[in-house]
């Protein structure tokens, strides 16, 4: 499992992504309170935190710009109340943004008709909820088939599809159980299966694993990664938990008080945090799992090499080898040419959490 995670990170972490943009937010605002729309229009879509507060409004989402690419796992992080859920609800138009544009494949989502929106949600969007939101009066099979029933599919067709996704999430044998009779992890599997039944292209997950205990949570993360290697959805995923984020993310957006402070790969956030707030977030992270050889390497100084590593290899994948070899490893690019080296001392410093000015930087 760990390999796939790393492969994903390697492919996705490459800068200048060529994949098409699936969903984009352009200066999206969501203010709660009276006359919010007037307030933000008058200011031409610009307002500071203090101005918003002075007008007696709650700035749940403020001026968010971001682009999510096809097939990407895009994670939104932030403290409680920072506006993550509201942002995702703006993206799916569960809440109407006060200002700005949400583009789905280049079309403005806020301008389409209700009928078109229903059509879009029925076939192209899926969502998984923190507390599962399963319907208590339906059993597993019926819950999963429910969105298909809403679309008007007949019973055999929708049950056939439901059984397929039940197979996919490993719930076979529980088809006729009711939500109450399932554990939290199983319930969330049903939630995932239900949102996958319609074969959505973009998949929103709002803290899907927060209500689960740590062991089950890890298992579900693995499950998600497994599904993603098969399905290649565009995923927007909310979490509180930075460890969860670095396990899954292609890119992470950090939110604070409704604003997006920084967007980047986990490594970018760890290596060059934009603000103290971001640094604080990433402080307790196991850096060896995030930082790659490229960030730690220095120019070769002619010493003998004990091995070779790829520039994108995470430190944790070769730290034991390099320390026991006691010699620097060469960092080689795709064509086998050395572009630098990583010393055992640098790795030990990183593992021990010691900050030293990097020699080759």
């Amino acid at each position: 499992m760990a390999d796939t995670t790393e492969q994903m990170l390697q492919t996705a972490g490459t800068p200048r992504d060529a994949r098409p943009i699936k969903l984009a937010c352009r200066n999206v605002w969501k203010l709660f309170g009276a006359n919010a729309a007037n307030f933000i229009c008058q200011r031409d879509g610009k307002a500071s935190m203090a101005e918003v507060a002075a007008a007696g409004l709650v700035g749940a989402v403020r001026g968010v710009d971001l682009e999510i690419r096809q097939g990407e796992i895009f994670i939104i992080m932030g403290l409680s109340g920072s506006g993550k859920s509201t942002l995702v609800r703006c993206m799916s138009r569960l809440v109407e943004p006060t200002h700005g544009k949400v583009e789905f494949e280049g079309k403005d989502l806020l301008k389409i008709s209700d009928a078109a929106l229903i059509e879009l949600r029925r076939h192209r969007m899926g969502m998984v909820f923190q507390n599962f939101a399963l319907l208590p009066h339906l059993n597993v099979l019926e819950n999963i088939a429910f969105p298909l029933g809403i679309q008007g599919q007949d019973r055999p067709t929708r049950e056939k599809r439901a059984r397929e996704v039940i197979e996919l999430v490993g719930l076979r044998g529980r088809e006729h159980f009711y939500p109450r009779e399932l554990s939290g992890g199983q319930q969330q599997r049903v939630g995932i299966a239900r949102s996958l039944a319609t074969k959505p292209e973009i998949w929103f997950l709002d803290e899907p694993f927060s209500a689960l205990d740590p062991l089950i949570r890890r298992e579900m993360q693995d499950e998600l990664m497994r599904l993603q290697t098969m399905l290649h959805k565009t995923i927007v995923f909310i979490t509180h938990d930075f460890d969860e984020a670095i396990r899954l993310a292609d890119r992470i957006a950090i939110m604070k008080d409704g604003e997006v402070i920084q967007i980047g790969t986990p490594e970018e956030l760890v290596v060059s945090p934009a603000t103290d707030y971001v640094a604080e977030f990433t402080r307790d992270v196991d850096r060896a799992k995030v930082i790659s050889a490229r960030s730690l390497m220095r120019a070769c100084d002619g010493a003998e090499h004990g091995g070779v590593v790829a520039p994108d290899a995470k430190i944790s994948s070769f730290s034991a080898d390099i320390v026991s070899a006691g010699k620097p490893f060469a960092v080689v690019n795709g064509s086998g040419k050395p572009i630098g080296e990583v010393t055992p001392q640098a790795v030990i410093d990183l593992l021990a959490g010691i900050e030293r000015p990097r020699a080759g930087a």
């Binding site: 229903i118 949600r121 939101a133 319907l135 009066h137 029933g149 809403i150 009711y178 009779e181």
Partner: protein
């Protein structure tokens, strides 16, 4: 932060200010009372200034009656069809044709109905519930109340679905349109739930005549409000995630309501259904006055003829029916709340619904058997018990042996308690009451509450009902006071000991489901008619919320707080007085509020045993079919309830806010 600071600053001052204000107000009212020779109009509302609201209402009702008789007649005809069917099926047999070639299709066999009741109980709550429900029906059969009870049941079985459907749609509408809820539905529900049961009967009697249909309509209107409330509550409590899910699944508005929200709200809806059934039963009994027939009518006849034994028997049959219906519908509601359990799905109807199929089969077989074996068609005389003579003997024995004690108690109560309070209340200046209630409203809830309290009180005076209003207030007040005096200590004991709670809970659960009529019967046997009987019956009826809320309020004080008090060295008494009681007070006040409202409802029904208050006014209007008089008196009663309720609620809300 600034808000709390200024609030705490402001608090100490106004308390003293209010004390002074109240002292002045009371002094002013006392002055008016003492000067009543000079200011008679301020004490007794002048007869010349009475606004003839009653006449206007009568005129309006007559207008409706004469112009819309085609409508009322067609409503009667339409509703009569299902009602006749239900009554025929359960109680009366179907008679087709006339005279010699009349064909009689039999009603359902009593044996079959008892077994079906048993099966329903077993399906909903296991063998024990099955035995209870089946036993209740068997009791009714063996004690010779079968036909009457089935008449009552037939009316309920038609009224209840009507209530459920109407309540559901009104509730959905109110939930969709917040303005409608605020301006229309909520006030209407409040009014409907405080207007006394009798008052519903009068317009029905006028419009639809003395018939089961008009009783059924009255029942349906009376029993609908809890369903509306349950629907609104259930829908608003559906988790927002489920709402979001339905949007994301691409539900249209209709799909969302019918396939997601309502099914998710099912537990709350089932609670509403239970309440509808119990209210319908209560009302059907009272509606016997306008032609419902059934058990209520038996009680009524027996009470009028002072046949205590018969009244008691019919009353106990009502109790049996009430318990059976309540426990059954509660068990079904609980099953819904628990959620479904996995069962093997089976294609055959018989396998999927074994109890239903079995019940239908048994009903069919026993009913067919009834054509040949009379014992199946009607309960054979030989196995019918009657306890009426027993009750009669018991009552005579008590009256012979304890006549002096009972009489002394009665007279002492009348002379020392009831009469002085009554004199005080009836002499109370109406203007003073308007003023004091307005003042209380202002202190507790601001200008709007003050205006409401004063306006509603003024209504009671200007319609010329002041004295009767105060007579109602007096009896209701004393009864509620005594009920609280009894109920709060019991609740207290229950909160302190699990054993007591275990004993008390089933008793109050049962008391609560009994139709109000049942409380009068045993009391009237011992104390005959009059205010004392009314008071005792009312106390018994209204004591339940005082017990329940006290117990609940004290039990929900967080244990951490009690421990904190103990750790800081409080004695048990101090812990109770300083910590538990203040924290539980809002809840206890809520209980007292409920007690007052229930006492009010009961006092009105006690008009049957000869009180001299607004209830009597409604009762007389009912017997004379004088709609204006009855409706105005009914409104006056509702207004007493609303004033008391609003003031209490405002007070409780304030106390809650203070406790945070």
């Amino acid at each position: 932060m600034t808000v709390t600071a200024s609030a705490s600053e402001a608090r100490s001052r106004p308390v003293q200010l209010w004390l002074v204000v109240w002292a002045c107000a009371l002094a002013a009212v006392l002055a008016v009372f003492l000067l009543q020779d000079r200011l008679p109009w301020a004490v007794n509302y002048p007869a010349s200034a009475i606004v003839p609201v009653a006449d206007w209402v009568s005129a309006l009702m007559n207008l409706i009656k004469s112009n819309f008789s085609w409508l009322t007649r067609s409503i009667t005809a339409v509703l009569g069809v299902p009602l006749d069917f239900a009554l025929g099926l359960l109680a009366k047999n179907f008679k087709i044709g006339h005279g010699a070639d009349m064909l009689v299709l039999p009603r359902l066999s009593w044996v079959g109905v008892c077994i079906a009741a048993f099966l329903a109980g077993r399906a909903a709550g296991g063998w024990k519930l099955g035995a209870l429900v089946g036993g209740c029906f068997l009791y009714i059969a063996l004690f010779g109340q079968w036909t009457s009870a089935m008449l009552t049941l037939g009316l309920i079985s038609i009224a209840v679905p009507f209530c459920i459907v109407t309540g559901l749609f009104v509730g959905i509408w109110a939930w969709r349109k917040p303005w409608a809820e605020r301006l229309l539905i909520s006030p209407a529900l409040d009014l409907m739930q405080t207007i006394p049961t009798f008052a519903y009967l009068i317009p029905m009697l006028l419009l639809f005549g003395n018939s089961p249909v008009s009783a059924m309509i009255a029942t349906a209107i009376f029993a609908t409000p809890p369903m509306v409330r349950a629907t609104m509550l259930g829908l608003s409590r559906v988790p927002s995630e489920i709402d979001d899910f339905s949007e994301m699944a691409g539900c249209t508005a209709r799909q969302k309501l019918w396939r997601v929200l309502l099914p998710s709200a099912r537990p709350a809806l089932m609670v509403g259904v239970n309440q509808v059934i119990m209210l319908a039963l209560n009302m059907v009994i009272i509606a016997s006055m306008i032609g419902a027939g059934g058990l209520g009518y038996d009680v009524l006849l027996a009470l009028r003829a002072l046949k205590v034994g018969e009244a008691m028997e019919a009353g106990l049959a009502i109790v049996a029916l009430a318990i059976a219906l309540d426990r059954l519908s509660q068990a079904i509601a609980r099953n819904h709340a628990k959620g479904h359990v996995y069962q093997e799905v089976s294609p055959s109807f018989w396998r999927r619904y074994p109890n239903l199929t079995l019940a239908v089969a048994i009903l069919a077989v026993t009913t067919l058997l009834g054509l040949f074996v009379p014992a199946f068609a009607a309960v054979p005389k030989a196995i019918i018990f009657t306890t009426a003579p027993l009750w009669k003997t018991a009552v005579s024995w008590i009256t012979i042996n304890f006549f002096d004690t009972i009489e002394a108690f009665r007279v002492a109560l009348i002379l020392n308690v009831l009469n002085p309070v009554r004199a005080f209340c009836e002499g109370f200046p109406w203007l003073g009451a308007v003023f004091l209630l307005g003042l209380a409203g202002y202190q507790l809830g601001g200008l709007r509450l003050a205006a409401l309290a004063a306006a509603l009180t003024v209504f009671c005076a200007v319609t010329g009902l002041w004295e009767k209003t105060m007579a109602t207030v007096y009896l209701c007040g004393i009864s509620a006071f005594i009920a609280s005096l009894i109920g709060i200590p019991i609740g207290l004991m229950a909160s302190r000991s699990d054993r007591v709670e275990k004993i008390v809970t089933p008793v109050i659960d049962t008391l609560q489901v009994l139709p109000s009529f049942c409380f009068i019967i045993p009391v009237v046997m011992l104390f005959r008619v009059g205010d004392v009987t009314a008071m005792i019956a009312t106390v018994a009826f209204a004591v339940v919320p005082a017990i329940r809320y006290t117990n609940h309020g004290l039990r929900q004080v967080p244990p951490a707080l009690i421990e904190a008090a103990k750790v800081s060295g409080c004695t048990r008494r101090q812990t109770f007085l300083r910590v538990q009681l203040p924290l539980a007070l809002p809840e206890i006040m809520l209980g007292i509020n409920q007690t007052i409202l229930m006492a009010l409802a009961m006092i009105i029904i006690c008009a049957m045993v000869g009180t001299r208050d607004l209830g009597q006014e409604v009762f007389i209007a009912l017997s004379k079919a004088d709609s204006g008089r009855g409706i105005v008196a009914g409104l006056a009663i509702a207004f007493i309830g609303i004033v008391a309720d609003r003031l209490f609620n405002a007070w409780t809300a304030k106390a809650r806010a203070r406790l945070g």
